[in-house]
């Protein structure tokens, strides 16, 4: 293989003269983190809502919840991103559509919505599983002391369910981080996009993508460690401690 290794490339200036390649990757990392956090917020809120709906006694709520999950889970993420970015603005009434298309953060917002709703379907499935995993008597006990359905969820079912599904939820958060990469296809300058542009400008393909891979790994490791610590702090003696 005829390849000129150059690990010093990171300290070279980028052609657009805004800084080094390293700086460019770091600004990509920032976008990746910001996008992941924004998308996770949507995923968590919507996922919780839909996940809870699927455990309610009302049949219509279960139906709506199931339909939501099937829709967002079974359309490929890339297609969903394209729909949010290319299709939805066209469907909106004239002025609003144009305004959205001209937004400077348009790609970021579309990616945030696309990724957020896509991941929310997966979070919803986890929340449902967590609530259903609780003994039926817990809901009854809450009801029996006079709590309303909402209060039973708020004070009993959800605090327990979130603890049970903490590990799978962690991995959904990691998935959210990793799934920010396809956002480059609609023009979000996140980490992978920055690595690709570095490769295109410098021809240092190995260095560029090794760096991106390493940064993703470090980011995931930080999240995993953080979530482990949080999980330990939230553990209940005699319920889920010591795992």
């Amino acid at each position: 293989m005829n390849y000129n290794w150059n690990w010093g490339i990171f300290w070279d200036q980028t052609p657009d003269a805004t800084g080094t390649y390293f700086g460019s990757l770091m600004s990509g990392l920032q976008v990746t983190i910001l996008l992941a956090l924004c998308a996770w917020f949507i995923a968590f809120v919507m996922g919780s809502l839909i996940g809870i709906m699927r455990t309610l006694p009302a049949r219509w709520a279960v139906f709506v919840g199931n339909a939501y999950i099937e829709m967002f889970r079974n359309i490929p993420l890339l297609v969903q991103l394209f729909i949010w970015f290319f299709v939805i603005p066209e469907l909106l009434p004239g002025d609003l559509g144009i305004w959205i298309k001209q937004l400077r953060n348009g790609p970021f917002i579309a990616a945030m919505l696309g990724l957020g709703f896509y991941m929310s379907s997966r979070v919803a499935a986890q929340i449902t599983a967590g609530i259903n995993a609780l003994p039926k008597g817990q809901r009854m006990a809450g009801t029996a002391i006079g709590l309303t359905t909402w209060q039973t969820y708020r004070y009993i079912l959800l605090p327990l369910a979130y603890r049970i599904i903490f590990p799978p939820l962690t991995s959904e958060f990691l998935n959210t981080i990793k799934n920010t990469a396809p956002a480059l296809t609609i023009g979000v300058l996140e980490l992978t996009a920055r690595a690709r542009s570095m490769q295109e400008f410098s021809f240092q393909v190995f260095e560029a993508f090794s760096a991106a891979a390493a940064i993703y790994l470090v980011l995931s490791a930080v999240v995993t460690i953080g979530m482990r610590i949080l999980e330990k702090r939230l553990a209940i003696p005699g319920f889920n401690e010591g795992k």
Binding site: P135, T143, A144, I145, G146, P237
Partner: protein, 245 residues
């Protein structure tokens, strides 16, 4: 007027399976009624219909003069006045013992934190568990957990108490500590409906015994009549089996 009236109550889980068949009985204020019968006879379901944890398709249930079967909005308020103790305790595992006792008081009854806590500690003292107030349910034995569950019902100042096989999930050596608390309650005049196989308890404190089989109330008799000369064959058969040893 009886504290609890169950009139012609029928319930189906699905069109083919009827769990309660035209059940009628009543529990007077201060009365202790034991419900027994073979498993699957519908006794747990019957007791859960009293505070509408199990909805019924036919019949009427009245608690303290209020119709539970037609009630909607006020159901939580009524339930808070009917104490319920479950077979598997169902303490809230993420809350400390004292918090388990305060939750209903503050949220449903609107008591202040301090008042709720004071009441909680008083009831814990009553069931002999003051020392465990700051522990979590998972750190207590089954017997202790069930006593906490009774205390959790008592802090709400219930007008009557429902027990759904309160000792069935306990190790033998823990059964008595729970029964002792229940006997104490009965002596104080608490209206109680108790699903149990503890015939010793029934003999000691029950006023009446209801025997159920296949969703029907087969026998509803004064305690002495029930144990002395049960009228139905099925009750005789049941008693001969569980009193054999």
């Amino acid at each position: 007027m009886p504290m609890i009236t169950i009139e012609k109550v029928s319930k189906w889980y699905n069109p083919q399976f009827q769990v309660l068949k035209n059940c009628t009985t009543a529990v007077e204020k201060g009365e202790v009624v034991v419900v027994c019968g073979p498993s699957g006879s519908g006794k747990s379901t019957l007791i859960k219909t009293v505070n509408a944890l199990e909805p019924v398709q036919q019949g009427t249930i009245m608690v303290d003069g209020l119709n539970v079967t037609t009630m909607k909005k006020d159901l939580p308020k009524l339930r808070s006045r009917v104490g319920m103790v479950f077979q598997h305790f169902e303490l809230f595992p993420h809350l400390k013992i004292v918090e388990n006792l305060c939750l209903g008081q503050t949220i449903v009854l609107g008591r202040s934190e301090d008042a709720a806590k004071a009441k909680a500690m008083k009831m814990l003292e009553r069931v002999g568990l003051t020392a465990h107030a700051q522990k979590y349910p998972g750190q207590l034995s089954g017997g202790q957990q069930q006593r906490v569950a009774i205390a959790r019902a008592l802090v709400m100042d219930p007008i009557c108490m429902l027990f759904d096989e309160p000792t069935s999930a306990l190790d033998p050596e823990m059964i008595n500590e729970v029964l002792d608390v229940m006997v104490e309650l009965a002596k104080e005049g608490m209206t109680m409906m108790v699903v149990t196989h503890e015939m010793g308890f029934a003999k000691k404190v029950a006023n009446r015994v209801i025997f159920m089989d296949a969703g029907e109330i087969v026998e509803d008799a004064q305690k002495d009549d029930f144990f002395g000369h049960p009228r139905s064959d099925r009750a005789q058969h049941f008693l001969s089996k569980i009193l054999a040893h």
